[in-house]
Symmetry: C2
Subunit: 151 residues, 2 copies
DNA sequence: AAAATTTATTATGCGTGCATAATAAATTAT
DNA sequence: ATAATTTATTATGCACGCATAATAAATTTT
């Protein structure tokens, strides 16, 4: 692994995690993304749709299909937001609350298991490298340097 | 970032890298996956299709569509493998060789930039944590524990 | 207040990677 | 040698996340 590029390691590790989560979720007739979404919806109160994208680290438009299928499966209900005629509040159904708990356990278990196998320092450095990558990209310090300088 | 789960960090960091690679590749009318595939095809000799999946860290079946589009775009040619009637040898066209070079530069640049911003130790720990995650998953030490014990 | 801009949401097409199924060739077992 | 199994490849359906475009409501400009 040490001889692989950083992107390779990132990509294949994430793919492995994704596959694992999807396999586990499928035992409960669900998917990884549905599980993540459930975790970011408040258990008891309506969650503004707007808040979901940022919380999940994805574009708002990416949620469209996921929320639609979640509604069709009876996991959530979308109600108009009384404070904003454009907005939507997402409510968990009892069924959704149940599935949310499975998802919570799944994520907890993965994170706890990994934490047990690495040192604090290793994990800290892992987070730091990830942070560096994200910042380099969002500040366009890898490509588009000229563009950045001209600003 | 420190308060986020390990899977969240892995996922969002990879998504950022993927997006960046796709944006860069699109400037040359290409895509990230095409670029990765090009890098794993020998510049001069026929590359057995079989070797591509493992080298790229993905299932062989996942390549089907990618190779098809690469052939349609004139980046590669698929020729029968004289040593194996089932197999295929992938050859780069001159056009493919040219695009391969762009991809090589793209990947090099990303990796060099990140390496400049982190310490050896940080990067080493990053790789180690990734390795731990991959091993935990492939040894089914996170879920399916019962199954594993019974073997 | 009317016009212009911004924001929230949805639909949809595309790329990527998985799983499954099909087919053909090679290998192994009998 | 024949049968059974394995391996290489392709096609295809699905999930996921992005981008773009459309629409409606809110906000800001004028």
């Amino acid at each position: 692994m040490k001889d692989k590029t950083i992107d390779y390691v990132l990509r294949t590790t994430w793919l492995a995690v994704q596959k694992m989560y999807n396999e586990e979720a499928s035992k409960f007739e669900s998917t990884m993304a549905t599980g993540f979404a459930l975790l970011n919806i408040d258990k008891d109160n309506g969650t503004p749709s707007t808040s979901l994208g940022p919380k999940m680290g994805m574009e708002a438009t990416s949620l469209s299909r996921i929320l639609k299928s979640m509604e069709e499966r009876g996991l959530i209900e979308r109600k108009p937001n009384p404070d904003d005629g454009r907005g939507v509040l997402i409510h968990l159904t009892p069924f959704g609350r149940e599935k949310r708990e499975y998802s919570r356990e799944r994520v907890l278990r993965f994170n706890e298991t990994v934490r047990k196998e690495v040192s604090e320092e290793q994990l800290e450095h892992f987070y730091e490298v990830a942070e560096v990558i994200n910042e380099l990209i969002s500040n366009k310090k890898i490509y588009n340097q000229k563009e950045r300088i001209n600003k």
